[in-house]
């Protein structure tokens, strides 16, 4: 009997647990469909196209890795890669340095600081294509306002975007003007969150302003600077709209970055297979760079 008496309790503990996961899995389906259709499928299809000689308005045939082989022997692509790195380096360093300086200035109290900050971040709010069109007019070597300004100061006129040697620094100038405010905002946020105690201790120890910046502000700001660096690097690598509107990759091919090359291959020459191979290579470059920067960010956190 005792066995019978204990039976209900045993039955209660042994009651089979409901497998809720099996029911809940259906809730995941809509999101999974979206992810598969808008992220995974385009990627798989891009890889598929990159293994084909695929032309819009023509047929397509399997060519294996030929597009990739062609890519790494294509001078135009290799030059576009070098130009992209050159442009990216300048378009990251410029806003980083100027944005940090601007943040240090705007962190201080001075009259009309709010107004000055607002004016400073206005370029960031402008549409890139509109910005590019306005700059294009200003760059006109004979009729542009920039050369007029230079001549007012007794300086010789510049060829700006109309010369192969000055086109990339000029495009970087537009990029710096446009995106320095973003870096400034990130760094300003970082500065606002810094503790006051280390500065008081440094003051007592007799540290000057530079020493306080070098040994307190800069290390504490590092995580914010790395975030700004990652965002700027990825943005600069992807830069397309301003370059396309202002120069279309010219003069000649002297401002043809990977994005412009990719756009022309895909949508001007309709070589979708070759363009897909460029996309894959470009994606790998961006992922590698982002990986390096994330690693640097983690290192900065540990410091």
């Amino acid at each position: 009997m005792s066995g019978a008496a204990t039976l209900p309790a045993t039955a209660a503990t042994a009651r089979p647990r409901r497998n809720y996961a099996r029911r809940y899995v259906w809730f995941v389906v809509p999101a999974a469909i979206v992810v598969l259709s808008v992220i995974l499928f385009p990627w798989v299809f891009t890889l598929f196209m990159s293994a084909h000689d695929w032309k819009i308005g023509g047929g397509h045939s399997y060519v294996g890795l030929d597009n990739y082989r062609k890519l790494f022997t294509d001078d135009r692509f290799l030059w576009s890669m070098a130009r992209t790195l050159y442009f990216t380096a300048l378009a990251v360093i410029g806003p980083m340095v100027l944005g940090t300086i601007a943040a240090l200035v705007f962190a201080r109290n001075f009259p009309l600081r709010g107004l000055a900050r607002t004016v400073f971040i206005l370029p960031m709010m402008a549409t890139p294509v509109a910005v590019a069109l306005v700059w294009t007019m200003m760059f006109h070597p004979q009729l542009g306002v920039l050369n007029w300004l230079l001549t007012q100061f007794g300086l010789p006129p510049s060829m700006w975007i109309y010369d192969a040697n000055t086109v990339i620094p000029t495009l970087v100038m537009v990029e710096v003007w446009h995106w320095t405010p973003l870096v400034m905002l990130i760094v300003l946020g970082g500065l606002a969150s810094l503790p006051v105690d280390p500065y008081e201790a440094a003051k007592i120890d007799g540290a000057n302003a530079w020493q306080a910046f070098r040994h307190i502000t800069f290390p504490l700001l590092m995580p914010f600077l790395v975030v700004a660096l990652i965002i700027r690097t990825i943005d600069a690598l992807k830069a397309f709209d301003t370059i396309y509107v202002i120069t279309q990759g010219g003069p000649g091919t002297s401002s043809e970055t990977i994005n412009i090359f990719l756009y022309l291959q895909g949508f001007a020459y309709y070589n979708m297979g070759y363009a897909s191979a460029v996309v894959v290579v470009f994606f790998l470059i961006i992922v590698s760079l982002a990986g390096v920067l994330l690693w640097a960010r983690n290192r900065a956190k540990d410091l």
Binding site: G59, Q142, Y162, T247, G250, G252, L264, A268, Y269
Partner: protein, 443 residues
């Protein structure tokens, strides 16, 4: 009470004699059923330009005449070419009618058979209005709209000739005559160049891709004339091509404003409008902004002449646009009606008199009344007529025409900078040859 004079009698007799013709004409017009596709909707994908603006502005006329609704969109040229190609390739284009640049997309559209052959529609009296008058189209535009296999898969809309614009004031100041040859043009431009005053003898397209259209003007004057032979062999590194390139690069380098390697038509237009250049060779559509007093400092002082002659031939570059009807369209009848209206005599006359471009039809050029009341000088119209007589396609009829323009255009840009023409053209030709060969193999 009016008197029965001899004049009245003659008028009456003439009216009686003309009556059968009038009755027949009216009868034919009445017989044609413009309302046949009433209630349908036609989507038109056009390139953004003054001609499309005119069509969109007046499309209510068509809607009232036919009861067909029109949804027309006009997209900037470069983006439009990509958009329609991708939509056609998808198999389900969103439009029924498409505007096509023949000098860029003719072979691409023809090879893929994206647009319908309009010849059966033209021959069908129930589908084509009796006053449509297909014979009114110039033979050049009709030929341009016809594919190599004889299919006529577009209806001509507009012919763009490269003409010579000149600043009358600058030429008169130095007593320089309008040049008839490219050599004379160089001499005149050189004499009118004064960098100290920021005044230049010649302005023209130097930007990669865009520059090939101007370079072609020089090449058309040589013995070989074309950049691709009839059997689809590249002729871009020949002695004639080198000579044309040297002539082009020389005038751009020595007589053009600094930085012209980055000039497309808009920079050229600005420079010429501000009175900073004496000569400019470009399409006919720029007469309107140049004669606009509110925007142009040279309004009323612009001279028009045909493109100069080369050492062996005298041609001007011909480019053209046309309308096609999508093979996938479910309202092909209504789309054909739209084309008849869009490319009809009235709209073509509007193109000419508004300065939007040279129409593909010939009748507008014979309309003395409209020409006399136009804001453009008679010289402009005579230049167009003369250009029509010497016009020859400025770009080869190949599928990868954009890649051709980019590759050759880069070489031209380098030559303006002082690079050796023979070396640059050889390099560019070798780079483009496999692209052309592969494309032709696919055809």
């Amino acid at each position: 009470m009016s008197e029965f004079t001899r004049r009245v009698a003659l008028r009456g007799a003439a009216g009686l004699l003309a009556a059968p013709a009038l009755v027949e004409s009216v009868g034919a017009q009445q017989a044609f059923d413009w309302k046949r596709f009433k209630g349908q909707r036609v989507e038109a994908s056009l390139t953004a330009n003054p001609r499309s603006s005119l069509l969109i502005q007046h499309q209510k006329e068509f809607e009232e005449l036919t009861g067909i609704r029109v949804g027309a969109e006009a997209i900037p040229e470069q983006q439009h070419r990509q958009k329609f190609a991708i939509e056609f390739a998808s198999g389900r284009p969103s439009f029924d009618v498409v505007g096509i640049s023949l000098h860029v997309s003719k072979r691409q559209v023809g090879r893929a058979k994206w647009t319908t052959d309009i010849r059966p529609l033209l021959q069908d009296p129930t589908m084509t209005a009796p006053d449509f008058d297909f014979a009114d189209y110039g033979s050049g535009p009709v030929e341009y709209s016809t594919q190599a296999d004889g299919r006529m898969d577009t209806l001509p809309e507009f012919t763009d000739y490269f003409i010579l614009y000149y600043n009358k004031e600058l030429l008169a100041a130095k007593n320089i005559a309008v040049p008839k040859t490219f050599d004379e043009l160089y001499t005149a431009a050189k004499a009118l160049t004064d960098p100290a005053k920021q005044q230049y003898g010649f302005v023209g397209r130097g930007l990669r891709n865009a520059n090939v259209t101007l370079w072609a003007s020089f090449l058309l004057g040589t013995q070989q004339r074309d950049s691709v032979s009839p059997d689809m062999k590249l002729l871009t590194d020949t002695p004639d091509a080198i000579a044309a390139t040297e002539a082009y690069a020389r005038i751009m380098r020595e007589c053009g404003p600094p930085g012209n390697v980055g000039f497309n038509w808009n920079e050229c237009q600005t420079t010429f409008m501000q009175g900073r250049a004496a000569f400019w060779i470009d399409g006919v559509g720029f007469a309107a902004p140049l004669e606009d007093k509110a925007r142009s400092r040279v309004a009323g002082k612009v001279g028009y002449a045909v493109s100069p002659a080369g050492p062996a031939h005298h041609h001007c570059c011909l480019f053209g646009t046309a309308f096609g009807i999508s093979e996938q369209s479910k309202v092909r009848g209504a789309a054909w009606y739209y084309l008849q209206w869009a490319s009809g005599k009235q709209n073509q006359l509007r193109y000419l008199t508004s300065g939007a471009g040279a129409p593909a039809r010939t009748s507008p050029f014979r309309n003395e009344e409209a020409i006399a009341s136009s804001r453009f000088p008679r010289e402009f119209f005579t230049t167009l007529v003369e250009s029509g007589r010497i016009a020859r396609p400025g770009l080869p009829e190949i599928v990868p025409v954009t890649e051709f323009r980019d590759t050759i255009g880069t070489a031209l840009t380098n030559c303006i900078g002082g690079a050796d023409a023979a070396t640059e053209l050889k390099r560019a030709t070798e780079a483009f040859r496999p692209v052309l060969e592969q494309s032709e193999k696919a055809s």
